[in-house]
C-alpha cells in the first residue's frame, strides 16, 4: 500500500493507483474530460491529452495529469490550489475557444460533458478569441459527424480502433487542426466503419451524434393513410426510465407500451416476441449443423449468432472467407419486420406499403441494418424506421408525456407476447442462454434440470462454457466487443483450436444494454451492470422463460411459417451475407 496526502487528507491506496482514483476514494472528485473508463469491461481511454485533471504535486516541476499519474509514497497532491485551478480553467477556456458553443441547438445539450465542465468551473467569459477549426459534415445512416465540435479526447478512436478493432477512426492532421477522422478524408460510410455507434456513446460532446429519425416517424403517425406499428427491443425497457429520472435498472416495460400507444402507434408490439422466433430458427439451425457434423457431413462450426448488425457488418468487411459460419437467421428486428409486412399486414388487410413498421432499439447500427436491400420487398423495407432509446425519450417528452405517470399497459397481440428467453437478448450471453434453453430441450426432448445458465452471464469480455446435452458436450463462447470477436474469428480461421460449437457475439459493452442508442452512461459501468440485473430480473419474473413454449410462437408456426428452418422461414426469416472487404482494402490503399 502507498500512503500519500491529497488536499492535506491522508490517503492509502494500492500500488499502481492513479491520483484520480485515489482522490475519488478520498471523496475528492477531480474533473476529467478525455479520460474514460468502463470499469471491468476492458475499455480505457487515458491519453492524458485534455489536461483538465491537472493537479499540483509538491516537488514536481510541472502539473501532473491525475488520470495518468500513479501515486507515490509520501506524495503531496493539491487538486484545487490556485495554480491547478488556473491551469484547469485556462485549459477549458482554450477548448471552448475552438468550439462552436452552439449549446442551445446542440443534440448533446444537457448531456454534454464539456458543457457540464464549463458550468462546474464557473466559466462566464471566453477570453480567447481566434480561428476555429472547421470540417466537412459527414454522416452514415447511423452516425452524424460534426467535427467542428471535436475536443480531440480520442475516446472514439480508442473505441473504434482498440475496442472494436474496426479501425475507421484515428487521429489525423497535426497541431491545431488535429481531429479524429477516417483516413484520407474518406466519408465514414465508405470507410471500415461498422456503424456500431459506440463512438457516439463515448463522445463527450456533440461531435458524434446519432442520425435523428423522430420527424420521419411523427410524419408517418400523422398520415391517416398509414398504419404505424412499433416494436421495442429487450434492452430499451431497462434503460428508458433513466431519461425520466428513474434509477438505472428500473424496468418500465408497461409505461413504455402506454407511452407508445399515446404517441399514436396503431399497434404496440414487442421485439422480444421475435427474439423468441429467432431462437426457434437459430436453435434449430445449430442442432442441424451439429447433427450434420456428428454424421460426418459438411457443416460449419462454430456457428456464430447474427443478431447484432455491427457484428454482421464487421465480418462482412473483415472476414469474407468465414461468411458461412454465422447463423443465417435474421436478427429479431428483421424477423419482426418480415413477419409484420408479410403476415400481419395481410392479417389486418393493409397493403405492405401502407404499413409503417418502426423499431425502438438500443442500437444505432439497426438504423443501417433496416436499410439493407435484402431486408425488404420491391424497394419497400420490412422495417421503415429505427428510433433509438434516446430518440424515443425525446419523442415522449416532445409530446408532453411523463413516462413516470403513465399506467402500465400490455403489448398488443399477436406479435407482443414474449418469454424470459426473449427478454435476456438484451444482455451479453442472453442469446446464448435463450438458445441453450430451447436447443437443449429440442435435442434431448427432456425438460431442463436448471433453466439458468449462470456461466454465460456477467460482464466478462469473453466467457466459455461446455453444456452437456444429455451426453453430447456442446462447447460455447460468448463475447462482446468486436476486438474479442476478432480474436475468436482468427482462431476459427486457424482451425478452431478451442473446439467451439456456438459463439455469441455482441458489439457493444455488456451487449445491447450498453448499446449506442441507449441513454448516455458517461463511463459509469454500474449503469450497465444495473441494466443487466434488471434484464435477468425481468426474465425471472416471466411465467414462461423458454422460447419454444411461447404460445404466440407456437401459433405463428402453425398458422404461417410451418416449421423452424422450413421453406417459408428460409424465405422470410433467413438471410445471406456479402463480401464487403473491398471497403477495408480501399482504406488500406
Amino acid at each position: 500500500m502507498i500512503k500519500l496526502s491529497i488536499d492535506n487528507k491522508p490517503v492509502e491506496v494500492a500500488e499502481g493507483t492513479t491520483i484520480l482514483k485515489a482522490a475519488r476514494q478520498a471523496g475528492i472528485n477531480i474533473p476529467t474530460l478525455c479520460y474514460f473508463e468502463l470499469d471491468g469491461m476492458n475499455f480505457e481511454n487515458k491519453p492524458g491529452g485534455c489536461r483538465v485533471c491537472v493537479v499540483e504535486v509538491k516537488g514536481r516541476r510541472n502539473l501532473a495529469p491525475a488520470c495518468a499519474t500513479e501515486c507515490m509514497e509520501g506524495m503531496e497532491v493539491f487538486t484545487s490550489s490556485p495554480r491547478a485551478i488556473n491551469a484547469r480553467k485556462t485549459v477549458v477556456e482554450l477548448i471552448l475557444s475552438d468550439h462552436p458553443n452552439d449549446c442551445l441547438r446542440c443534440e448533446k445539450s444537457g448531456d454534454c460533458e464539456l458543457q457540464a465542465l464549463a458550468a462546474r468551473l464557473g466559466i462566464r467569459e471566453l477570453p480567447f478569441k481566434g480561428e476555429q477549426t472547421t470540417f466537412k459534415k459527414d454522416s452514415t445512416l447511423s452516425v452524424y459527424r460534426d467535427m467542428d465540435k471535436c475536443v480531440y479526447c480520442r475516446r472514439c478512436e480508442t473505441m473504434c480502433s482498440k475496442f472494436q478493432t474496426a479501425g475507421a477512426l484515428s487521429g489525423v492532421n497535426r497541431g491545431f487542426p488535429s481531429v479524429v477522422a477516417p483516413a484520407f478524408d474518406q466519408p465514414l460510410g465508405e470507410s471500415s466503419c461498422i456503424n456500431c455507434g459506440q463512438c457516439v456513446q463515448v463522445c463527450p460532446v456533440g461531435a458524434l451524434t446519432l442520425v435523428d429519425n423522430i420527424n420521419d416517424v411523427m410524419k408517418a403517425i400523422a398520415d391517416p393513410t398509414k398504419t404505424v406499428i412499433v416494436n421495442t427491443a429487450p434492452a430499451v425497457r431497462v434503460a428508458l426510465g433513466e431519461e425520466f429520472g428513474q434509477e438505472p435498472g428500473s424496468i418500465v416495460t408497461g409505461q413504455m407500451a402506454a407511452a407508445l400507444r399515446r404517441l399514436g402507434f396503431d399497434y404496440v408490439f414487442d421485439t422480444d416476441w421475435s427474439a423468441d422466433l429467432t431462437i426457434m430458427e437459430e436453435g434449430t439451425e445449430l442442432l442441424q449443423r451439429v447433427g450434420k457434423v456428428l454424421k460426418g457431413e459438411e457443416a460449419k462450426l462454430p456457428m456464430f449468432t447474427s443478431c447484432c448488425p455491427a457484428w454482421v457488418a464487421f465480418y462482412e468487411k473483415n472476414f469474407p472467407d468465414l461468411l458461412e459460419y454465422p447463423s443465417t437467421a435474421k436478427s429479431p428486428m428483421a424477423m419482426f419486420g418480415a413477419t409484420a409486412k408479410n403476415y400481419f399486414a395481410q392479417k389486418i388487410g393493409v397493403n405492405r406499403k401502407d404499413l409503417v413498421v418502426v423499431s425502438i432499439m438500443p442500437c444505432l447500427a439497426k438504423k443501417s441494418e433496416c436499410a439493407r436491400e435484402e431486408f425488404g420487398k420491391d424497394g419497400n423495407p420490412d422495417i421503415d424506421y429505427v428510433l433509438s432509446t434516446r430518440e424515443l425519450a425525446h419523442m415522449i417528452k416532445q409530446c408532453n408525456l411523463d413516462l413516470n405517470q403513465l399506467p402500465e399497459e400490455d403489448f398488443d397481440s399477436p406479435l407482443g407476447q414474449s418469454t424470459g428467453a426473449g427478454v435476456i437478448f438484451g444482455a451479453t450471453g442472453g442469446v446464448m442462454e435463450a438458445a441453450l434453453r430451447t436447443a437443449y430441450e429440442l435435442h434431448t426432448k427432456k425438460s431442463l434440470p436448471k433453466i439458468d445458465f449462470e456461466e454465460v452471464r456477467g460482464l466478462n469480455g469473453v466467457k466459455e462454457a461446455t453444456v452437456d446435452f444429455d451426453g453430447l458436450p456442446v462447447k460455447v463462447a460468448v463475447c462482446y466487443g468486436l476486438g474479442n470477436a476478432r480474436k475468436i474469428m482468427e482462431e476459427v480461421r486457424a482451425g478452431n483450436p478451442n473446439g467451439y460449437n456456438f459463439v455469441e457475439v455482441m458489439a457493444c459493452p455488456g451487449g445491447c444494454i450498453g448499446g449506442a442508442g441507449q441513454p448516455y452512461h458517461h463511463g459509469n459501468s454500474d449503469i450497465i451492470r444495473k441494466r443487466m440485473e434488471a434484464t435477468y430480473r425481468e426474465d425471472a419474473g416471466k411465467p414462461i422463460r423458454k422460447s419454444h413454449e411461447n404460445p404466440d410462437i407456437i401459433a405463428i408456426y402453425k398458422e404461417f411459417y410451418g416449421e423452424p428452418c422450413g421453406h417459408l422461414s428460409h424465405e422470410l426469416l433467413h438471410t445471406h451475407y456479402f463480401d464487403k472487404s473491398d471497403k477495408i482494402e480501399a482504406t488500406l490503399q
Binding site: R51, V91, G130, E131, Y152, S170, G175
Partner: protein, 604 residues
C-alpha cells in the same frame, strides 16, 4: 601500389555539396590525372569541416592548407600552383578580418582555435565511405576494448563516471539511462539512435552521420553490449539522404569486417543495425513519439512512465540516445572517463556542438568545451557581428529555447546555466541577432514552428500555442492592448506548466524569455505601435520630409502601389511641390527610399 604523399580533402557535406563540391572532386581527379599524379595525390570526399560560411572547403594535407570558397574553376590553379609547384594559392586562403592577413593553416584560424573537437573528431579528416580510414584513426578500437577487456557493467560505469549527458536537448545522464535499461530483463532489447534532428538551423547530427558514420555504428554496438541488446535501430529523417547513404555504407562495411553481425570479434556478442525513416515531424524527436513512429503508429508522445528503458520499441526495453551523444562514447572508452570529465563544467562535462547562425561573421558548425562563454563563441570563434553592428541577443535551444542577451555574454554555457537564464541547450542551435531583429517577431517565428509541429494531442499545445500565436500576431500588427500581454504571459505559464511533452512544455520559452529580457520592445509594439527594429511592417510608416523633397517625383514613378502623390506645398528654395505618401495604400516595400537621391524619405 599507390604511395600518396599528398591528400586533398574536399568537403562532401550537404552544404558544400550543394555549392558544387562534387564537381570540385571530379575536377581534381581529372586534372591530377593530366599531371599523372593520381598515384601520389589522394583525393577524398570528407564530411563537414564546420566552417560553412566559407564553403566549399578544400584542405591539402600534410601542410594543412585550408582553402575557402573554392569553385570548380579554382581546381586547376590549386593543382598546378600548390601541388605541382608548392606555392599556396593565396587568393583562396582565409583572410583574418582583424588584420587582413592570409591564414593558411586552419589551426591558426580564430574559428578553430577555441574549438575542442571530440564528437566531430573525424569530420573533415576521413572518407566517411571507407571504414578503413575510420579504423586508421582509431575507429572500432573502443568496441574491441569493451568486448575483450570490459564487462557491460564496467562500460556503464565508465560512461557514468564520464558525466556524459544527452546531447539531444534535455541533458539526461547517459550512463544512468544505460544502467536503467540494462537492469530490465527481457528477451529482446533495442538500442535506438535518434537521428530525427529537427531544430531549425541545427545540423550537427547530420554532419556527424555524413562525416563519421562509423563512430555511431561503433557507439551503438558498445551500447548494445552494455545494456544487453542485440538490435540497433537508427531513426533518421528521410530528408537526410546523404547521411542515410553513408550510414548504410558504414553498416554494410562494418558487417563485412565482422564489426557488426554475429559473434563480433570472436567475443560471442551479436549486434546489428537497421534504419527506420522519419517523415520530418519535429515531435518525433521526443523519444516516446519516436518509438511510436517506428512502430508505425501516429508519431505522438505518450506519458512517461513507463520510460522506454522499461517499455520501449514493441514494448521491449529500449535505450534512445541522440547522434551526438553516441559520437562521444568511443572516445570516452578509449581515453577514459577521467579525461572526458576534465573538460567542461561541474555538472556538464565534455563538449557541445553548436550550429552557429544568424547575424554573425563565421556561420558554421563548432564544437566547444562546456563552460565557454557566449562572448568567446560570438566574438572569437564567430568573428563578431556582421557589418560591425551591435549584438542584441542569441537564441539557443531552437523553438524550445530562449533568448540570451548582453547580460549573459560572460555566463559559462552549460545545461544548467542556460536553463537558469531562461533558455536551454536544446540540440545546439545558436542564432545570433543584432539590432535589426525584432524580439516579438522572433518569438512569433519560433511559435509558428511549434504550432506547425505540435502533434495536437494535448490541449495546451494544440490550442494554447495557436492562441499565443494569434496574440503575438496582433502585437506585431499593432492591434493589441496591454491586456493581451497579460493574457499572453498567463497562457505561456499555463502551457509550460500543463502540456504533455517536452515540446509543449518548452514552447512558451521563446516568448517568456523575450518578454523577460525585452519587455520594453513588447510595450513599444503595444502602446507606441512601433517596431524599433523595423521588422513589423504593419507598424512602419514611410514619410517624406517636405522640406527636403524637391518634388522630382521619382519616388512616385517607382512606387508599385501608386501610393505617392504631389502635395500643394512647395518648400522654400524648391521649385516643385513636395510629394507625400498615403499610408493606407503604401505596401511598405521601401522602393521609394531607394529611389530618393535627396534623403527625403524615412521610415518611422
Amino acid at each position: 601500389m599507390s604511395k600518396y604523399n599528398t591528400h586533398v580533402l574536399i568537403c562532401g557535406g550537404t552544404g558544400c555539396k550543394s555549392s558544387n563540391s562534387g564537381q570540385i572532386y571530379e575536377n581534381f581527379k581529372t586534372i591530377l590525372g593530366e599531371h599523372n599524379l593520381t598515384d601520389e595525390v589522394q583525393v577524398i570526399k570528407t564530411g563537414c569541416f564546420g566552417f560553412c560560411e566559407k564553403g566549399p572547403i578544400v584542405k591539402i594535407m600534410p601542410d594543412n592548407t585550408f582553402y575557402t570558397n573554392v569553385t570548380p574553376e579554382d581546381v586547376r590553379n590549386i593543382v598546378e600552383e600548390h601541388i605541382v609547384k608548392g606555392r599556396k594559392v593565396s587568393s583562396l586562403l582565409y583572410v583574418n578580418p582583424e588584420n587582413n592577413e592570409h591564414v593558411s593553416d586552419s589551426r591558426h584560424m580564430e574559428f578553430y582555435k577555441k574549438q575542442v573537437r571530440i564528437a566531430l573528431r573525424n569530420c573533415g579528416f576521413v572518407d566517411p565511405e571507407n571504414i578503413e580510414e575510420s579504423i586508421a584513426r582509431g575507429g572500432y578500437e573502443a568496441l574491441g576494448k569493451c568486448l575483450t577487456e570490459m564487462t557491460p557493467e564496467q562500460v556503464i560505469a565508465e560512461i557514468k563516471a564520464s558525466g556524459l549527458r544527452g546531447r539531444g536537448g534535455a541533458g539526461f545522464p547517459t550512463g544512468l539511462k544505460w544502467e536503467l535499461c540494462a537492469k530490465n530483463k527481457a528477451d529482446q532489447k533495442y538500442v535506438i539512435c535518434n537521428a530525427d534532428e529537427g531544430d531549425p538551423g541545427a545540423f550537427m547530427d547530420r554532419s556527424i552521420l555524413e562525416g563519421d558514420p562509423n563512430s555511431i555504428v561503433e557507439a551503438m554496438a558498445i551500447c548494445g553490449y552494455a545494456i544487453g541488446a542485440t538490435k540497433g535501430l537508427v531513426y533518421i529523417r528521410a530528408e537526410y539522404p546523404l547521411a542515410i547513404d553513408r550510414l548504410k555504407i558504414a553498416i554494410e562495411q562494418a558487417r563485412e569486417y565482422g564489426l557488426l553481425g554475429e559473434n563480433i570479434m570472436g567475443s560471442g556478442f551479436d549486434f546489428d543495425i537497421e534504419l527506420r525513416y522519419g517523415a520530418g515531424a519535429f515531435v518525433c524527436g521526443e523519444e516516446t513519439a519516436l518509438i511510436h513512429s517506428m512502430e508505425g503508429q501516429r508519431g505522438e508522445p505518450t506519458l512517461k512512465p513507463p520510460f522506454p528503458a522499461v517499455s520501449g520499441y514493441l514494448g521491449k526495453p529500449s535505450n534512445v540516445n541522440n547522434v551526438e551523444t553516441f559520437a562521444n562514447v568511443p572516445v570516452i572508452i578509449i581515453k577514459g572517463a577521467e579525461w572526458f570529465s576534465s573538460i567542461g563544467t561541474e555538472k556538464s562535462k565534455g563538449t557541445k556542438v553548436f550550429a552557429l547562425a544568424g547575424q554573425i561573421n563565421n556561420v558554421g558548425l563548432i564544437e566547444v568545451p562546456m563552460g565557454i562563454t557566449l562572448r568567446e563563441i560570438i566574438y572569437e570563434i564567430g568573428g563578431g557581428i556582421k557589418g560591425g553592428r551591435e549584438f542584441k541577443a542569441v537564441q539557443t535551444g531552437g523553438p524550445s529555447g530562449g533568448c540570451l542577451t548582453k547580460k549573459h555574454l560572460d555566463t559559462p554555457i552549460d545545461y544548467d546555466s542556460l536553463v537558469a537564464a531562461g533558455s536551454m541547450m536544446g540540440s545546439g542551435g545558436m542564432v545570433v541577432m543584432d539590432e535589426t531583429s525584432c524580439m516579438p517577431a522572433i518569438a512569433k517565428f519560433y511559435l509558428e514552428f511549434t504550432c506547425e509541429e505540435s502533434c495536437g494531442k494535448c490541449t495546451p499545445c494544440r490550442v494554447g500555442n495557436k492562441r499565443m500565436l494569434e496574440i503575438l500576431d496582433k502585437i506585431t500588427r499593432g492591434e493589441s492592448t496591454m491586456d493581451d500581454l497579460q493574457a499572453l504571459r498567463n497562457l505561456a505559464g499555463v502551457i509550460k506548466d500543463s502540456a504533455l511533452c517536452g515540446l509543449g512544455q518548452t514552447s512558451p520559452n521563446p516568448i517568456l524569455s523575450t518578454m523577460d529580457n525585452f519587455w520594453d520592445e513588447y510595450v513599444e509594439h503595444v502602446v507606441d505601435k512601433k517596431c524599433r527594429a523595423g521588422v513589423c511592417k504593419k507598424l512602419m510608416s514611410y514619410v517624406i520630409d517636405r522640406e527636403k523633397c524637391i518634388g522630382c517625383g521619382k519616388c512616385a514613378k517607382g512606387c508599385p502601389a501608386e501610393a505617392i502623390a504631389k502635395t500643394d506645398y512647395t518648400a522654400p528654395g524648391h521649385k516643385l511641390p513636395s510629394m507625400e505618401i498615403h499610408g493606407e495604400t503604401c505596401i511598405k516595400c521601401g522602393a521609394c527610399i531607394n529611389n530618393c537621391k535627396f534623403g527625403a524619405i524615412s521610415v518611422q
